[in-house]
């Protein structure tokens, strides 16, 4: 749910990075954080375990510019990917405006990707959202790893709705900003469409 403040002329939107454990959600946010001008970002917060696995969420506020005099801010969140943190994932999806599904391209993670995608759909439905109508993009991460599935195969398995999708290597930043820009644009377009209704 976006938030518009007329007095401070701000628009705030929430984007959630979803995907199986160790697929690179936090790495996406870390890359964005490291490569963003200090004026345009807030502090990145990671609620993680001692072994640096996401426990609750990562949070990164980002300002992307002005649109008709309104400062446009995106609040980026990741969910904990590990299966047993499902209760936390549900909470983070509350009020979401757009979703990035980060898939792990490694062949061994094919099942985990599908399971996480099904879990996303179910958890969104519980909050009253439909993945097919929500601004949503897919990122095929870890394209630099050995034993990866061809993109066509991943697309066939995961991108049944034919949403924008991107190859990525989050550790080097390849595809990271392309993914973010794409989902941010979809969110703003959806808000514009909603206003016209």
């Amino acid at each position: 749910m976006s938030f518009i403040n007329y007095l401070s002329r701000e628009i705030n939107c929430k984007i959630v990075y979803y995907g199986p454990g160790l697929c690179g959600k936090t790495t996406n946010l870390q890359y964005i954080y490291n490569r963003t001008n200090p004026d345009a970002k807030g502090k990145m917060i990671s609620l993680a375990t001692e072994t640096e696995r996401t426990l609750f969420f990562d949070f990164l506020p980002l300002e992307i510019g002005e649109i008709r005099g309104f400062k446009t801010r995106f609040h980026l969140y990741t969910v904990p990917g590990q299966v047993f943190y499902d209760a936390s994932r549900k909470l983070i999806l509350k009020g979401v405006d757009g979703v990035v599904f980060v898939a792990d391209s490694q062949m061994l993670r094919a099942e985990a990707n599908i399971e996480s995608m099904d879990n996303l759909r179910t958890n969104l439905a519980e909050q009253g959202y439909n993945l097919d109508t929500l601004p949503y993009v897919i990122q095929y991460n870890k394209r630099d790893m050995p034993n990866i599935s061809p993109v066509e195969e991943l697309r066939h398995l995961l991108n049944t709705g034919n949403v924008p999708d991107f190859d990525a290597i989050a550790t080097t930043g390849e595809g990271v900003f392309e993914t973010l820009k794409s989902v941010a644009k979809l969110v703003l377009t959806e808000l514009k469409r909603g206003a016209a209704r």
Binding site: M1, I4, Y6, N12
Partner: protein, 160 residues
């Protein structure tokens, strides 16, 4: 969209700000802020200079969401009030009309009893204001800033 968009117009924003300004004084608090349950900061009053209010808003909403999840598992109603006691500072958190969160940060210049008392009155005022805000958000005749935005405006935002 699962929930209506929250739009704060100047009039309601000024009313919220007046309530939080007054609460800072009446409770002798250090900082008071109001955030929505999704972690967006709505207003802040008091000594906010050194505080990272954006992060505080997101983390407070996370706390409320997590305890809300616990309440659901226990088949309990939402835990509407929370209190965190520190060595030098304390945090009082109050959910207002199930929709926004009122946070008071205070130190030993005041007491929990006084903060609770003043929060109660502020909660009543804020409940009325946010009922108006949500009624306006559902009014189809209220204009949204997005109504005037063009596809070109959106494209321009992403031009390198």
């Amino acid at each position: 969209m699962a929930s209506p968009q929250m739009v704060m117009y100047e009039e309601e924003f000024a009313q919220v700000q007046a309530v939080t300004n007054r609460l800072v004084q009446d409770a002798n608090a250090r900082v008071v802020f109001v955030i929505d349950k999704n972690g967006q900061l709505i207003s802040a009053s008091g000594d906010t200079g050194e505080l990272d209010t954006t992060s505080l808003a997101s983390l407070t909403a996370g706390t409320i969401a997590a305890t809300g999840g616990i309440a659901e598992l226990l088949r309990e109603q939402e835990f509407a009030t929370q209190y965190h006691e520190g060595v030098r500072q304390n945090v009082h958190i109050q959910v207002v009309s199930g929709r926004v969160i009122l946070v008071v940060i205070f130190d030993n210049r005041t007491s929990l009893g006084l903060v609770r008392l003043r929060v109660k009155r502020a909660t009543e005022h804020l409940t009325r204001i946010f009922e108006m805000v949500m009624a306006k958000a559902q009014d189809p005749f209220q204009s949204s800033p997005f109504a005037e935005i063009t596809d070109d405006d959106i494209d321009n935002l992403f031009n390198d």
